[in-house]
Amino acid sequence: MRASRQETETGTALEVDGLVKRFGDLTAVDGVSLTVRAGECLGLLGPNGAGKSTVIRSMVGRVILDSGRVMVMGQAAGSTAARMALGWVPQELSIYPRISCRENLGSFGRYYGLKGQALKDAIAWCLHWAALEEKQNDVAKTLSGGMKRRLNMAAGMLHRPKVVLFDEPTVGVDPQSRNRIFEMIEALRDAGTAIVYTTHYMEEAERLCDRIAIIDHGRIIAEGTKEELVEGTFGRRSQVLARFAGETEAIEAWAKRHGGRVTTETAEFTIEQAGEIAPLLDDAKKAGLELVDLSLKRPNLESVFLHLTGRELRD
């Protein structure tokens, strides 16, 4: 109980401290620490295999940790109190396909210990929140992809959790349904729910997340608001992206001479002033490289991710 009061006082809803998880010789998660406050949405971004899913499952209490701890509203993850405070929306559609939306929600509501009027109210709220009222009696497997996703989300909300984990909730969803899902998540966040959100879509993270943590090789390599991440990575510099026709080795040698690097066939530099571009291109011409495409842009979250991990988010 003392821990709960502390969480209320500090506003910390979810705390991950020094999380380590090994699978044999592989260290999947290596000392991850995170906090999420009530009403805050934390984006957890990372390439495939970076350790996101293990971190999420640790928050759910489904991983036996090698060290570290995870606290949900002041309770150890996996405890009954923590489970009741946590909502989890897995990436896979984890609903019963052969029963209706209402029956699905009824089943999960009972798993959370709801019954009677409380269960009816919870189902009604979830159907409204997910805009599935008109489809409540339809069998789940007959729903569209977007509706199934919304039902998948609603099934984790019946007990009105204070912390919600969304694991790539928009995979395979059309733009219209995706927008609807954003509105659902924003409504939760505005109501004071702490949210952890993983995604492969940078624009989702930019729209929904107050803070973003980038994880790679099991470690958090950057954390902060979008602006903090851009500032921390690029400072006041702009980004130059150039594509050339020519031998890869020559392009890489040229980029290296000017403090840049080649990722995904594109040479990347950062500059403080536009005047720095001309000398770069002159040198490229001397090296026998033929310019195909050139762009100058202010760095964004995707630039940060690419710069820090060397990979596109969707790789």
């Binding site: 489904r62 991983v63 489970r83 946590l86 984890s94 019963y96």
Partner: protein, 427 residues
């Protein structure tokens, strides 16, 4: 094809199943495992004559019979129980201790055999349990054989009497010679050199027991008033087998949930693995019990099974059987990784258990070794229990061995299933 090749468990089981099943049938019907089934026979000798003792001895020497003249002692240090009487023998048959009891009446030794009907010979009484149609036939056949081989002097003596009566007798010289031969035979019997029987596993039977040289009066002491003698047996036997298929299929929902991710999600709620499995166990027990009710109601409606006068016994046996079968299904499901594996494994195990345990054909038809092996199956205990209820009309209190075994098996299987299910609990 590719999916089957990659699911090696299912692939192996696809080939193991037919081989295992073939072996069981070959053992039962090919006699490769023990010859004629052994029949337990209670013998009550009320005559205590030389002829009756010789007959009992002849029967005892038959390898296909296990002759019991007294109940088995309950423990090594317990005093030896008294010999069976006609009443205790009948009670033992009713209780299922033996399928047949032979009563050798007082006076048997005076006219032990008869050549043809109305010849004035003694009549033996054969008490039987109608649920085992084979045992009385085996006993009657072997009884005739034992009478011939174990009482040669009596045979000759009676033959002489017939010769006197119908042929007009022998001359004094002939009679003296016959008497000399009879004396030698009696001495040989006394020395044990005659009447030992062949000890073979003969399979003789008698269409009309009264037409043999030993007159036998057969009387059913169990099932004599049943309208449809074997209906209750098959309702239980077939019911249990299909219960097992239903239970394993229903428990397989666990595999679907694991595969779809629903199980992991459920385990992130207030529900623990133990409570989840316990919930499924309760549901599957209920489902199996309802299935049994449907089976017996059908038997009542269509085959005149006397269902409603046995409700308490049915409820006890039905619930215990349903519980054991549900736990069995849970264990099978928790052991498998895919539905294909579960399908193959459950088919293999259930068909083997059903054939050995008596769901496909009565266990009394099987060799002794398989009858004992049958006790390792849920089927055998369930069928025995239902037989006690519907066939022997025994009170519920007499079901305690079956109830104890089925509940015990159910608990053990569930505990093991829970242990195996740990692999789903954590990443």
């Amino acid at each position: 094809m590719i999916a089957l090749k990659r699911d090696r468990g299912a692939l192996v089981l696809s080939f193991v199943l037919p081989l295992a099943f073939f072996s069981i049938f070959a053992t039962i019907f090919g006699r490769s495992g023990g010859g004629t089934p052994t029949v337990k026979l209670i013998v009550v000798d009320q005559d205590h004559s030389q002829a009756s003792r010789a007959l009992v001895k002849g029967l005892t020497n038959e390898s296909s019979l296990v002759v019991m003249t007294k109940p088995e002692a309950k423990s090594k240090n317990a005093p030896a129980p008294a010999d069976y009487t006609a009443a205790t023998a009948e009670a033992a048959v009713k209780a299922g201790d033996a399928p047949v009891a032979l009563i050798i009446p007082e006076g048997f030794g005076q006219h032990p055999i008869a050549f043809g009907p109305d010849s004035g010979g003694s009549t033996l009484e054969l008490l039987n349990d109608q649920s085992d149609a084979i045992a009385p036939q085996i006993v009657v056949g072997l009884l005739q054989k034992a009478a011939i081989t174990s009482m040669p002097s009596t045979m000759a003596d009676e033959g002489m009497k017939y010769a006197d009566k119908y042929v007009g007798g022998f001359t004094p010289a002939q009679k003296a010679k016959v008497d000399e031969g009879l004396k030698a035979l009696r001495e040989a019997e006394a020395d044990g050199k005659a009447g030992a029987g062949s000890g073979s596993s003969g399979n003789g039977s008698s269409e009309n027991a009264g037409a043999g040289i030993v007159a036998v009066n057969e009387r059913a002491v169990v099932g004599e008033n049943k309208k449809s003698p074997m209906i209750s047996f098959y309702a239980a036997a077939i019911g249990v087998m299909f219960l097992m298929f239903t239970a394993s299929g229903s428990a397989g929902a666990l595999l679907d949930e694991a595969e779809s991710g629903t199980l992991e999600r459920v385990l992130s709620t207030r529900v623990t693995m133990t409570s989840l499995l316990a919930g499924k166990l309760v549901f599957n027990t209920g489902l199996a019990f309802v299935q049994l009710v449907a089976m017996f109601l059908w038997g009542w409606a269509v085959f005149k099974l006397d269902f409603f006068s046995h409700l308490p016994g049915f409820a006890v046996m039905g619930l215990c059987t349903a519980f054991a079968v549900a736990a069995f299904g849970m264990l099978l499901a928790s052991l498998c990784h895919t539905r294909a594996q579960l399908g193959a494994l459950s088919t293999l195990v259930i068909l083997i258990m059903s054939s050995v345990g008596g769901s496909m054909f009565p266990r009394f038809l099987m060799p002794e070794s398989l009858q004992k092996a049958g006790l390792l199956t849920i089927n055998a205990w369930a069928i025995d229990g239902f037989t006690k209820v519907f066939w022997r009309d025994l009170p519920v209190t007499d079901l305690w061995p079956q109830v104890a075994v089925l509940l015990g098996v159910g608990v053990v299987l569930f505990v093991v299933a829970r242990r195996v299910a740990r692999r789903w609990e954590y990443t």
